[in-house]
Symmetry: C2
Subunit: 498 residues, 2 copies
């Protein structure tokens, strides 16, 4: 028996089998250098005696080690640490685990924490009354087919490093759509495809803002946008919203205070109040931007879902002066998880946004983008959109009727011309945040007004999404919402009230 | 005939058919309000005479307008602008285009321009000798199948807003892989899946650095990383690299100058010199980080492609103190276009990186991630990897032989232990940037040494990738490289030299 200094700790109570504890310890020793290549290994009987384990156990451990090349067995001289260390196989039964370190231990300092605000995400069985579309409607079969077709295209251009502005076919299809339905004179080279409209906002912020610059935002508004602006150093300054939309007249005073670089608006369906920016305000806003050299970031997040009244074309369709950065998305039309957004902008801005994009993630998924172009070109997206719009419009009707029926005393609201949510004022005595918390306990997610306030102050409103709920789910969700009300506010049958 | 003040400009020479010019002008007039709902339209004979066009042309224009609802024809009274404006149909033959504005006109100012540095992208027919893998090897059929399967899973969790850290199945599969092959004690909750390693670097920079902070980087090194650091306000400071890797001893002086927050390293195959950080330097680097509270960003961009010598485990496998942020990628194993990277980090850092991610693009593509988890679980990724590695190793051999054969006098190099490129010193008298430019004219893309220098000064080296070229392509590419040499350096048959 040769001397072997290496010690192995065995814990018979541990969940890891003893033979694995032995073989892991040997491997750990080899990797750490404590057992050098070529050093002798004790025989199975010897080690078994030393460790007070059955010889079978040591044999099993050694068998693993030999099979994987960590130790070598020679008939005459016994066993040795191999002189070359074997390739690590991921599928090997012999998974080498480093000593588990504390995952929360951190040896360096971080920048100050950011607050996290993101979309409502519901666990299974919980009713998500955010603004998201119904993912069950998404054209999954067609998408899978188009994806497969796209993968058979030139792998170089779709699977390699490609144009950071996005797949040219999809940009062409989007360009055609924007020209024919939104009155925008956008060519494919005026577009960048982004991972969701969020990335579009993030890139716009990077090219417009530096530390201390001001960006005027609607109050109430869309918090993830403000965070994107802050990440670029921008300071969101609130501008009130009334029944005509953004109070454009309030911009002059903000401009006078200095450093105003951009205005962020959701003119089609103001987020979250759902009002549409009137024609007069639109002209005034464009005029203001033109005169002051201020950019307008137009977030047209659910352009397609307009149910009543004249179609309203975007600010971008009236932009002769290159003041508008237009952010669109296919999230509502298809599915938010696909992260398909786009930005149309004056070329100098687009070029810089593209450069910034290279440093963030270089490009989108050109296979998916090619598949989407396919679906747009053969009309599949449009067919899906028409079906979804019909369903959402019906669901809006169902929601409106149900709300008046069971929550008529607790809420009052206008029926919006489009979109996927109701913006409702709560009756006096109802604290929206409290109601939302109690609703969450009962498995319904709604947003209270405070969430949308730049100043973080409570507002007596709630936002109720209906697109994701079929009739049965709507009934159940509203039932739970009623139960979640403070008890003096619950009225089962209320007169039809405004 | 009723009066009609509206004027239509016709350009018979224009590419747009005259009947469309007419109908577009009418629609434009209606949309701009110059033609009000209910106003009369001239008869076809009258308008034809006024415009000096054939009556058939006007009839065709009017037919379009009536079919789409812009104008109404009454038997007795003639034609009128419709009192309600029709829905805009994307597929309509009648695409309404706004007056085309100048796409380069911009009405606001931008932040200073960024320089653009990205991966080499070759047009079809051009030989890309960057470090990219061969996309023709990617398992496209298996991926398409897995993608389709993933789409049939719960649409809510894969198509809706989901976990910004990435699909849990893929995080589990990556965790198992890291544990069993890289000695890392990484659980699925220690990971975030990013859109390529570039996003991993970008997120690490956001949580570590603020304006004016210093990050030590290898010189020569990887420019897109420096840009990610700069975007967070960081200032990359160069540290020399020798045959053992990063000169860890040089970090002390940098630390003394203040504000050093992190060190960025590519210890497995130093980018671009391909040296491996030796064991002694690794221990010294970890010790330095631990003592000074400085983070190590370890970019293990092509861990799998190691052909000779002992497998070298990452710094992260030895990190008991939570100093390492480990950035990995599946780009080399699968395809860069899929943008599948990941970061393993101490939990506090990971949480903040996740929050930042929400504001950039919210999340990755969970359908693709689920498909990838599928391919990892059934061993497809591993099978593909083994095949690719064998092929790349062969191609390395072919490249080495060919270089010695046809460029033996122009270049000298070590054969790296792995990776997908050769880092070669050019002979005196050869300007690498000039050679690269002449090679590009001949349809071969290579990188000259200056590209990798933090100080932007020329270095007498070139980087030659071979993974993407089969034997025939390699021969042709090298032939063109030889032709691109300055004439006094061309030697067809050179003695085997170092």
């Amino acid at each position: 028996m040769r001397l072997w200094d290496f010690h192995i700790q065995i814990d018979p109570e541990a969940s890891k089998p003893v033979f694995l504890q032995i073989s892991h310890a040997v491997v750990e020793g080899i990797k750490s250098g404590r057992l050098s290549p070529g050093s002798p290994i004790p025989g199975t009987r010897t080690l078994a005696a030393t460790l007070s384990v059955h010889r079978k156990t040591v044999i099993r451990a050694y068998d693993e080690l030999v099979a994987e090349g960590w130790i070598t067995s020679t008939p005459r001289w016994g066993m040795f640490v191999s002189s070359t260390i074997p390739e690590l196989e991921p599928a090997s039964a012999h998974a080498v685990t480093a000593q588990r370190r504390d995952p929360f231990r951190i040896g360096f300092s971080l920048q100050p924490h950011l607050k996290e605000v993101g979309p409502l995400r519901a666990a299974p069985g919980v009713f998500n009354m955010g603004s998201r579309p119904d993912m069950r409607l998404a054209p999954r079969t067609a998408l899978a087919r188009a994806y497969r077709r796209a993968l058979t295209w030139s792998p170089e251009s779709l699977l390699g490093y490609s144009d950071p502005r996005g797949n040219p076919d999809l940009r062409r299809a989007l360009s055609a759509m924007l020209k024919s339905t939104r009155g925008m004179s956008t060519d494919s080279d005026d577009l960048i495809i982004t991972r969701g409209s969020q990335m579009g906002l993030y890139l716009a912020a990077r090219v417009l803002l530096k530390s201390g610059d001001v960006i005027a935002v609607e109050n109430l508004g869309y918090p993830p946008a403000w965070e994107a602006f802050r990440q670029a150093g921008g300071r969101p300054v609130p501008v009130p919203v009334d029944e005509e939309g953004l109070r454009v007249d309030a911009l002059e005073a903000i401009f006078k205070r200095g450093r105003l670089k951009a205005v962020y608006v959701t003119p089609h369906h103001q987020f979250p109040t759902m009002v549409t920016l009137t024609a007069g305000r639109r002209l005034a806003l464009l005029e203001f931007a033109r005169r002051k050299g201020v950019a307008i970031i137009e977030d047209d997040y659910d352009h397609e879902f307009h149910y009543r009244g004249r179609p309203v074309l975007p600010l971008a369709s009236m932009d002769r002066w290159g003041v508008v950065i237009y952010v669109g998305t296919l999230s509502k039309v298809l599915a938010p998880g696909l992260r398909l957004g786009y930005v149309a902008a004056p070329r100098p801005a687009l070029e810089q946004m593209t450069t910034h994009r290279i440093y963030i993630d270089h490009q989108g998924d050109h296979v998916l983008e090619r598949a989407l172009a396919d679906l747009m070109e053969d009309g599949e997206v449009h067919r899906h959109f028409r079906r979804a719009r019909r369903i959402y419009q019906e669901r809006q009707g169902a929601m409106v009727a149900a709300l008046r029926n069971v929550l008529g005393e607790a809420l009052s609201f206008d029926v919006p011309a489009g979109g996927t949510t109701i913006w409702a004022r709560v009756a006096a005595g109802i604290d929206p945040a409290d109601w939302a918390a109690r609703a969450a306990e009962r498995g319904v997610l709604i947003r209270p007004g405070v969430f949308f306030a730049v100043d973080g102050r409570s507002r007596p409103f709630v936002r109720l999404g209906y697109a994701g709920l079929n009739e049965k789910e709507l009934r159940e969700a509203l039932k739970r919402l009623v139960e979640a009300l403070p008890s003096n506010k619950k009225a089962r049958r209320a007169p039809r009230s405004r």
